[in-house]
């Protein structure tokens, strides 16, 4: 611990153990990856609250079978913007926030490879988010976040065009971010850190970067064609003018299936780093987890048409996509087994970070299983566009991504802010979140199997009871955010000071002070041991260890 403070004294201008909070830099064009990381995290959480409010409005409408809370048109816009905000303005940018903040620290770099590009990528986020919100003044997009033509080209033009522009901007931001992630992880590691000495979060971030780089442009291509159809009146996707709407679906899902992995892979990485720390055990199967991220990255690019089993896709093609989709369950399953094996026999500390991590694993398994069910063509045709699908992807993206993001926040909050979060509030947050989540989404499986369609404001009264349960669950979810917000704000200003390494982690970000000094490392750090050498005898302080401890 002594050497650590010595390092931080080197570069902290104020000379104290915590530099004066210069809050203004968080509203400016900072090049510091840590500032940008915090900017991403705070901005995206703000949009999470907006997306949550939209969801609450949707669930309020669905509390009764009649369309009585909002008009059906507004309802369409509400779920459209809910999906768009949650995906493009919350999960994707918040994972970008974690990658920005943690990757340079984990690989011993002083910053990302392209700091200015990094700042540009972030600053595309607030304007496009505000742009999207501003569409409420002109009648927002209402064709769902998938924006399928011809539906999307028949509604209000202004709202849809704003939606397209906003998503194009966010896509560009995500591409620029991806360039930075790939080059940083590839080229900026300290020389002593080989590929197989990287923390697993870096592997996952690399896979995320590759996916975002390759798939996002295809969505941009689709949206460019769609905007021509919308504004100029061409017929790329309009069958009456000779076009083909299915082409849009292919292009859209070529991005949007990988987008699921863009949203979940970084969280896989975070969980792979969090579970060993709080289980005090080496990660089980380091290479299996690392390489399965890369496998998911490539397999994820060839499964998109499983979203189109009911779009007239020819049977032979459906067979291919069915099998390819089921194959993805293998690398994903490898990860789940590795996490469970890591916890098995470990000294598990049931703090908030670990609770959310375990919540993540269990909820994600449910989402994964319903995913394999949906991959089967006959079953998918039966439940396509029902609440079963809604339940499935919320188990993946809420029970999965959001639980994982919360876990990451509890785990790295002390590093980022220099303050500890309150454990009691954290546990209340977890309990409310876990119960609220399952109350909202577990019953939806049944709704879907019974045939309730999604994206419709009115429904048959026979579904009323289950819908009320779902809406109560949403209320709990909304309430669960309150202890977290109180905790985060209170702890950030008045929480207990965090030591450099509160969890006794072995990855490099814990070797610097909390919060880290401006330049991260006064001298290039040499990792003293493999990042997951937990439970091994302590490594001597001064001697460099060129050979990493193998798992």
């Amino acid at each position: 611990m002594t050497t650590l403070t010595q390092i931080s004294n080197d570069t902290t201008p104020s000379g104290g153990d915590r530099p004066k909070p210069e809050w203004r830099k968080y509203f400016g064009f900072s090049h510091d990856h840590k500032v940008i990381g915090i900017q991403y995290l705070v901005t995206s959480f703000f949009f999470y609250l907006i997306g949550g409010a939209l969801a609450a409005a949707v669930r309020t409408e669905l509390a009764t079978p009649a369309s009585d809370f909002v008009s059906p048109e507004l309802y369409n816009s509400l779920f459209t913007l809910h999906g768009t905000v949650m995906i493009f303005l919350w999960i994707v940018p918040s994972t970008a926030g974690f990658i920005n903040y943690l990757v340079p620290l984990m690989i011993g770099a002083r910053d990302m490879a392209f700091p200015r590009l990094n700042a540009i990528a972030f600053w595309m986020l607030p304007p496009s988010g505000l742009l999207l919100m501003s569409s409420f003044f002109v009648g927002p997009a209402s064709a769902g976040w998938t924006s399928y033509p011809p539906l999307s080209t028949m509604g209000p033009v202004a709202g849809e065009l704003i939606w397209i522009l906003s998503v194009l901007l966010l896509g560009t931001s995500s591409i620029l971010g991806a360039i930075n992630f790939i080059v940083t992880i590839w080229k900026m590691r300290v020389p002593q850190m080989g590929w197989n000495d990287m923390p697993l979060f870096c592997w996952a971030s690399l896979a995320t970067g590759i996916l975002a780089l390759v798939s996002t442009p295809v969505l941009a291509g689709a949206l460019i064609l769609l905007s021509f159809d919308l504004v100029v009146g061409t017929s790329f996707f309009n069958p009456t003018g000779g076009g083909d709407p299915i082409v849009y679906q292919h292009m859209f899902w070529f991005y949007s299936h990988p987008a699921v992995y863009i949203m979940i892979l970084p969280v896989f990485g975070m969980i792979s780093d969090i579970i060993p720390v709080h289980s005090r055990k080496a990660i089980f199967g380091y290479r299996a987890i690392a390489y399965s991220s890369i496998a998911i990255c490539f397999l994820g690019l060839i499964v998109w048409a499983h979203h189109m089993f009911t779009s007239g896709t020819p049977p032979w093609l459906r067979m291919f996509f069915m099998f390819a989709t089921m194959v993805i369950a293998v690398p994903t399953g490898i990860k789940v087994f590795s996490w469970v094996a890591t916890m098995w026999g470990g000294k598990i500390q049931l703090n908030s970070a670990m609770l959310f991590a375990m919540g993540f694993v269990s909820m994600f398994v449910i989402g994964g299983i319903s995913g394999v069910m949906l991959a089967a063509v006959p079953f998918d045709i039966h439940v396509h566009d029902t609440y079963f699908v809604v339940a499935h992807f919320h188990y993946v993206l809420f029970g999965g991504s959001v639980f994982g993001l919360y876990s990451g926040m509890y785990h790295w909050f002390p590093k980022i802010t220099g303050r500890m979060l309150n454990e009691k509030l954290g546990k209340i947050h977890f309990a409310l979140n876990f119960i609220g989540f399952n109350l909202t989404f577990l019953p939806m499986h049944k709704l879907g199997l019974d045939g309730m369609n999604r994206r419709i404001a009115e429904y048959d009264p026979k579904y009323a009871t289950i819908n009320i349960i779902c809406s109560i669950g949403t209320l709990l979810l909304a309430v669960s955010t309150v202890p977290f917000l109180i905790n985060a704000v209170r702890s950030w200003f008045w929480g207990d000071r965090a030591p450099a390494n509160p969890w006794n982690g072995l990855t490099l970000e814990w070797s610097v002070s909390s919060p880290p000094p401006v330049e991260n490392f006064a001298v290039d750090p040499i990792p003293a041991c493999h990042p997951y050498a937990y439970g091994k005898p302590p490594v001597s302080i001064s001697a460099p260890q060129p050979e990493p401890v193998s798992t």
């Binding site: 080059v183 390759v214 941009a220 291509g221 021509f228 009146g233 072995l506 490392f521 302590p538 460099p544």
Partner: protein, 201 residues
């Protein structure tokens, strides 16, 4: 919380002379990454075009015949401009700023000729943007590529502008020259693909 185990994680230090090494330059690699993304937009649009030809009702049967003379000349101009531009980079590698300016100037001229040729073609085609599905794909694909030529032209002119400052580009430091050239080659390759797909196939 922090007990003895925290000594696990102590980073050893290497020579302090490392302290102020400059931020390493990976801009060329970053540019290649960016071009992968750019390339994927075109891949997406090309695949969309082929799918339209295969299945879309509006693109079955005979497609409009395209005049090959002008776009053929345009292709020759754009392809040879890539070689011309390369002479510029060779020049700066010998610290020859005058040579750089000459060859880059010529490249800019050839790029501008290409754009003028494309404009001329647009105004003399018998179909407009909304005439048919083929017409729409033709204009959007060539137009999107034309935008990239414009951007490449701006980069080239930017290099010319900066090269007026003596010593701005030198044998060892000429990222701008290299970047403009890589981008130009990219635009060139895309055009060759586009020409084959739209005009010849």
């Amino acid at each position: 919380m922090t007990t003895t185990t925290s000594t696990h994680l102590t980073t050893t230090t290497i020579a302090t002379t490392e302290h102020q090494h400059p931020h390493p330059d990976h801009r060329i690699l970053g540019l290649y990454m960016f071009l992968i993304a750019e390339g994927m937009i075109f891949v997406g649009l090309f695949v969309a075009y082929f799918t339209f030809r295969a299945v879309a009702p509006g693109m079955q049967g005979d497609l409009p015949k395209l005049e090959l003379m002008l776009p053929g000349i345009n292709t020759i101009i754009l392809v040879s401009s890539s070689f011309v531009m390369n002479r510029g980079q060779s020049a700066i590698k010998k610290n020859d700023t005058k040579g750089l300016q000459f060859w880059f100037g010529l490249t800019a001229l050839m790029g501008a000729t290409f754009l003028v040729g494309q404009m001329y073609e647009y105004f003399h085609l018998e179909f407009g943007l909304k005439s048919s599905l083929f017409a729409s794909t033709f204009y959007v694909l060539t137009g999107f590529h034309g935008l990239h030529v414009c951007f490449g032209l701006i980069l080239t002119l930017g290099v010319l502008w900066r090269s007026r400052t003596p010593e701005h580009y030198s044998e060892h430091s000429h990222f701008g020259v290299e970047a403009a050239e890589i981008y130009w080659h990219f635009v060139d390759v895309i055009w060759i693909l586009l020409f084959v797909i739209l005009y010849l196939l």
